[in-house]
């Protein structure tokens, strides 16, 4: 059995999942910290 389609699928799944959770966490952090900074600047 040719293993390469399984290897490609495993790498694609891992890379996509890792990138997705990293991007989601980064965007959530930037958004929350920007909101906190904006509120703390208010008198």
């Amino acid at each position: 059995m040719n293993a390469w389609p399984f290897i490609i699928a495993a790498y694609a799944l891992t890379i996509t999942g890792t990138l997705a959770v990293t991007a989601w966490s980064f965007v959530a952090m930037r958004r929350a910290e920007a909101e906190a900074a904006m509120l703390s600047e208010r008198p």
């Binding site: 699928a9 891992t14 890379i15 958004r31």
Partner: protein, 240 residues
């Protein structure tokens, strides 16, 4: 640990550390995966499918390390009432669940060309599936408890009780002689049955994913701390 109980002190360290862990982790993963995919030899019995292990093993390691982190944070929350412990446990849960799912999926993709099946109700695979359900339960429970304004004590107890599954996963290949192969690396004895040409990219890949996992957890902790700050500020503004 109590030194970092102060969120301000924690953030002072977490801010530069997030970027450092993120970039170092990303670069290490890229190098390790290119190494494993393009430069390592095929294994004598497994053939080319051995390359799946460079992503499967780090995912398995992080799935278990993630729950170990949840259990440690839960203990800190219950015993010492560490203010950041509950935030840390909740921040580990989502990436931990993701890497458990990746471990199960890549294991299935490795199993089909190697064993001839995607799935078998074997001790190791079943206990890993139980770990995924535990993560899902923890995420749901933490969300529900937070919504009700609780301190997260029930979630912390769940985090501690769930740790019972970790030795079951670890020793499953010893207790039950089923399809999943036995332990290849022993950190306690410092031994390995893997050839160095495959062992090194595997270790480098595990290091890279671990560094990135740390960055993801720090990002999620920082987001939650900022949200708590916003909520407190809005409450004060509404009261005045």
């Amino acid at each position: 640990m109590h030194v970092y109980a102060n969120p301000t002190r924690f953030l002072k360290i977490a801010r530069p550390l997030t970027a450092w862990l993120g970039w170092a982790g990303g670069a290490t993963i890229a190098a390790a995966l290119a190494w494993g995919l393009l430069l390592t030899p095929p294994e004598r019995l497994q053939g080319e499918s051995v390359r799946i292990l460079y992503v499967h093993v780090p995912a398995a390691w992080l799935a278990m390390a993630g729950w170990s982190g949840i259990a440690a944070a839960s203990l800190m929350q219950l015993v010492w009432r560490h203010p950041l412990a509950a935030i840390a446990a909740r921040s580990i849960a989502v990436p931990g669940a993701l890497f458990t799912a990746i471990c199960l999926a890549t294991g299935s993709l490795w199993g089909r060309p190697t064993w001839g099946t995607y799935w078998e109700w074997d001790g190791r695979m079943t206990s890993m599936l139980v770990l995924l359900f535990l993560y899902a339960g923890f995420i749901a429970l933490a969300g529900a408890e937070k919504e009700k304004g609780g301190e997260g004590r029930i979630t912390a107890i769940f985090g501690l009780v769930g740790a019972v599954n970790l030795p079951i996963i670890h020793y499953s290949v010893v207790w039950w002689n089923t399809l999943h192969q036995g332990q290849s690396i022993s950190f306690v004895r410092g031994t390995s049955t893997i050839d160095p040409s495959m062992l090194w990219p595997l270790l480098v890949s595990a290091l890279g994913f671990s560094l990135l996992f740390g960055a993801i957890v720090l990002m999620r902790m920082r987001a939650e701390l900022a949200r708590i700050k916003v909520e407190a500020r809005l409450k004060r503004m509404a009261a005045s």
